[in-house]
């Protein structure tokens, strides 16, 4: 039996309350005193209205769009690694991080872009740090995307492999449905409701078929590699087909199950106290108290690791791209930036919380695995989230927590999240590649198919060789660093218009320092592993890799090679990130100096740039 205090209920309530303060208190204050948003000032959406990129959209629509675009896999897997340090630190970071940094970044980058004629990050970086700075950003983003891809491909493969292979058929089902819906919309010109209905029916069907036709690959240790291969092929198609005919319809149709999952889990988490007495009890299980110290000792110190492990939900750099790339161009009035940018991020915080709870209600051994247990080896139980989620939800819809449809459903949601985001990332990589190698000797890499192949092939190698949490931490590091950089850009702008900067500068510095530290740590881990190997200790080397390479002693040199490669990645990410940060700090300093020179008439929210 568990009492209400042992359920996550109060934490949910507390978080909601604190986020409320963040929004109506801190948020409004920043909006009024730092950015001085002005509903009367013309936004880019009106200034450059062209009905395509620039056009005003209601705050509700935009909120939905922003939320959908930012809330994906991050809040699910971040906490999964986060809880390694116990659920309380994770919880605190999700609350505190979002309170002081997360929403501020999303909102700030949106405002910044709005004040810069809807320019996105590339151009703004160019303005603040010059051509070199932009090239630097380009390089950073390039690696960033490779790492994301690696992490996501690895995850998708793992998910297909897990859940007794029940998620593959539904995934394909959804993809085909997406394709079909595309055709129905474009060729048949069918009414959207009809399309949706058909689509959802088919999704339901494929979900139902999943457990009936589980797909289990026969390659044993090579399974992951094979799954990753399949995933890459699908993504390749998604990248070369025109977005509106495949990716977009798929996103559209995939949205509904994902949305359902969110609602169910939120309600489930809130409902926990009222389902007391159920068995197995739905209470905070993660035994040994709220604090843990990295049971497997693979991750490293809580600072900086936790802060890069939990990205979306606390803060994520990806969001700054969303905010500035599209939302800012469609913001109707400046005062919408807070609800859209900030609101969406805080809501995602709640999501992260709910997902964290999905782990909290499981047992430690289940989440972290048990040494020597083949079915659940240490730190690989990616099935935790679906199971936890199922447990929460089972109570409110009154089915067994082990109901296979339920777990399959959540597993599927997981895969679809990863897949849809990854499709986007792959396409983005293609564009960046095209930009980087548009001319010159390596023009070939600018080619649509070549760049896509590279953007998937290289990540595939990492995905199948490196242990996925290693990848995840690199991804987190890069992603959070991007966030730091975004906040620095914001601070520079504020400095230039002589608005108060400390509220963004401090978080900015914190993020930059933390993430750089994390990157060093990661790099060091791999370097250290290699060094140990040279001392004759193979354990670390093996630990950093996965699959057959991990198992088969003949592959030991390959393993070493992989470790070495990961060292390189780390060095590059760190190097590029560091130089970018330095440029930004320099630019910030000069901006402050230069701003002081100007009449103190500024702090007008930036009109003086125009």
């Amino acid at each position: 039996m568990v009492g209400i205090l042992e359920t996550p209920f109060l934490w949910v309530v507390a978080t909601i309350a604190l986020y409320g303060v963040a929004y109506w208190g801190y948020g409004k204050w920043i909006d009024r005193n730092v950015w001085r948003s002005d509903a009367k000032k013309a936004t880019p959406a009106h200034m450059y209205m062209d009905g395509v990129e620039y056009f005003p959209v209601s705050r509700y629509v935009l909120w939905g769009y922003q939320f959908k675009s930012v809330a994906a896999l991050g809040p699910i897997l971040g906490p999964f690694i986060g809880v390694t340090f116990g659920w309380l630190p994770a919880l605190i970071w999700i609350i505190g991080g979002n309170f002081f940094i997360g929403w501020l970044q999303d909102y700030g980058s949106m405002m910044l872009s709005v004040r810069k004629e809807g320019r996105s990050f590339g151009p703004i970086t160019y303005e603040f740090t010059g051509a070199r700075g932009r090239t630097n950003l380009l390089a950073f983003v390039l690696f960033y995307l490779v790492i994301i891809s690696a992490a996501f491909i690895a995850l998708i493969a793992t998910f297909w492999n897990a859940f007794k292979g029940t998620t593959f058929v539904p995934t394909i089902g959804i993809l085909l449905t997406g394709l079909l819906c595309g055709q129905l919309l474009y060729r048949v010109k069918m009414n959207v409701f009809a399309v949706t209905a058909i689509g959802l029916a088919l999704v339901g069907l494929s979900l139902y078929l999943g457990p009936i036709f589980p797909v289990v690959l026969p390659f044993g240790l090579w399974n992951i590699a094979a799954w990753a291969g399949i995933c890459v092929l699908i993504l390749y198609l998604a990248a070369v087909l025109p977005t509106p005919t495949f990716i977009q319809p798929t996103n559209y149709i995939a949205f509904y199950p994902a949305f359902a999952a969110i609602i169910l889990i939120l309600v489930g988490a809130l409902a926990t106290p009222f389902t007391i007495g159920a068995s197995p009890p739905v209470g905070i299980q993660l035994d040994m108290g709220p604090f843990l110290t990295d049971p497997q000792g693979v991750l490293g110190p809580i600072w900086p690791i936790l802060f890069v492990a939990i990205a979306c939900g606390a803060i994520s750099g990806w969001h700054s791209l969303v905010s500035s790339s599209s939302s800012a161009k469609q913001l109707d009035i400046e005062t919408d930036a807070l609800p859209v940018g900030g609101g969406a991020m805080l809501s995602e915080g709640l999501l992260a919380l709910a997902y964290l709870i999905a782990y909290m209600v499981l047992t430690k051994s289940f989440v972290f695995g048990v040494a020597g247990d083949a079915t659940n080896p240490p730190h690989t139980n990616t099935a935790s989230w679906p199971v936890g989620a199922a447990l929460l939800v089972s109570r409110i819809i009154g089915v067994s927590a082990t109901n296979v449809l339920l777990t399959t459903f959540f597993g599927l949601v997981l895969v679809i999240y990863a897949l849809t985001v990854q499709a986007l990332v792959t396409r983005f990589f293609r564009l960046v590649a095209a930009e980087t190698w548009s001319e010159g000797r390596f023009r070939i890499f600018g080619n649509k198919h070549v760049s896509t192949a590279v953007g998937l092939g290289v990540p595939w190698v990492f995905a199948v060789s490196g242990s996925w949490w290693a990848l995840w931490l690199y991804f987190g590091g890069a992603n959070q660093l991007l966030a730091g950089l975004a906040i620095m850009l914001i601070s520079i702008h504020l400095a230039r218009v002589r608005a108060p900067t400390k509220y963004s500068l401090i978080p900015g510095v914190f993020m930059v320092v933390t993430t750089l530290a994390a990157l060093i740590w990661q790099t060091w881990t791999f370097l250290y592993s290699v060094w140990l190997f040279l001392q004759g200790d193979k354990s670390w080397i093996v630990r950093n890799v996965r699959g057959p390479i991990q198992a088969d002693p003949n592959y030991i040199l390959v393993a070493v090679g992989i470790n070495a490669v990961f060292v390189l990645i780390g060095v590059v990410l760190f190097g590029v990130g560091l130089s970018m940060s330095i440029r930004l700090f320099r630019s910030y300093r000069s901006s402050v100096v230069e701003a002081r020179g100007r009449a103190p008439a500024a702090a007008d929210g930036g009109t003086r740039e125009r």
Binding site: R119, P123, Y126, E127, A131, P242, T243, P244, L431, S438
Partner: protein, 341 residues
Amino acid sequence: MPQLLAQRPKMRYIFTGGKGGVGKTVAAAGLAYHYASQGERVLLASLNPVHSLSSLFGQSLSGGKVVEVQGAKGVHAVEVETTEVVERYRNSIRGRVKEFLKWADIPLDAKPFIEIATTNPAFEESAMFDRMVDYILKEGEAFDRVIFDTAAVANAVRLIGLSKIYGLWLTRMIDSRKEALSMRVQLSFRKEKVMEEVKKDPLMADLISMNERFEQAKGVLVDPERTAFFFVTLPLALPIAVVRRFIGMVQKFNIPIGGVIVNEVLRPEIALQEGAGEYLGNKYHEQTGYMKVLYRDLGPLVRSYIPLYASEVGGVDMIRRVSEDMMSYAPPFAAELSGGA
């Protein structure tokens, strides 16, 4: 004719035009041969879409290169080719289309569009004009005279008149290009870089240089000292009507008119002699009738005559004969008519 040539020693650019089949090419060749026989270097350039120099001289002069005509010292001939110029135009346009489609992510193949955008039949004509200008401003420099055998008169006049038409067209092109480029700069975030690109915009360069050259060419083409346009006609109603119709047009473009050359004139001593039969007789009378009309309308402009020969004009020897007759021959009725005029 000799008097005219004497009056206009500096006449360097000579055009022949007229209704199809009246013998523009023959007349042009004749003139060329005449100057050459004076020991000058003459360039005879055919601007016809379908060249006939080769067939006239009975030797291959095609290929777009200037070659000296065998057996006619000093006469250099070229059948002007436009392919290269056209290709250049097309490439510079291709470049622009690609630039447009940089970020474009379109569900259909852009190539055919680029193809279409770059197949503009006008290119042929403008290229031809371009080459003509070249021969006037560049290659022509190496010669004492440049004689152009143009297409049928309407097109000939059009072709020359292009210096005016293109003037308009090009200035507009240049203006809109300017606007376009300034917009690019204004809407770019990498001002310096774009500024650079804009500075060396190949298309702009092309347009401007064309314009300049056309301006120069115009200067030459309207200078009565250096340029003359000759109408070639037959002593028949239709060709004369054409001349009458187009002489005004030529003046509108203020292209200096050299005069009219009458081709295939029946010699009375042949046509009217004993036993000639009424066939030739009729023809001759018909002819004189038309000549009257011609004289009535543009008498003073009639410069020279090419008799109708017993055999078709072709080969260098015939050309020699033509050139001689052009300079010397005048049918008896000419005197009385011009006297009467």
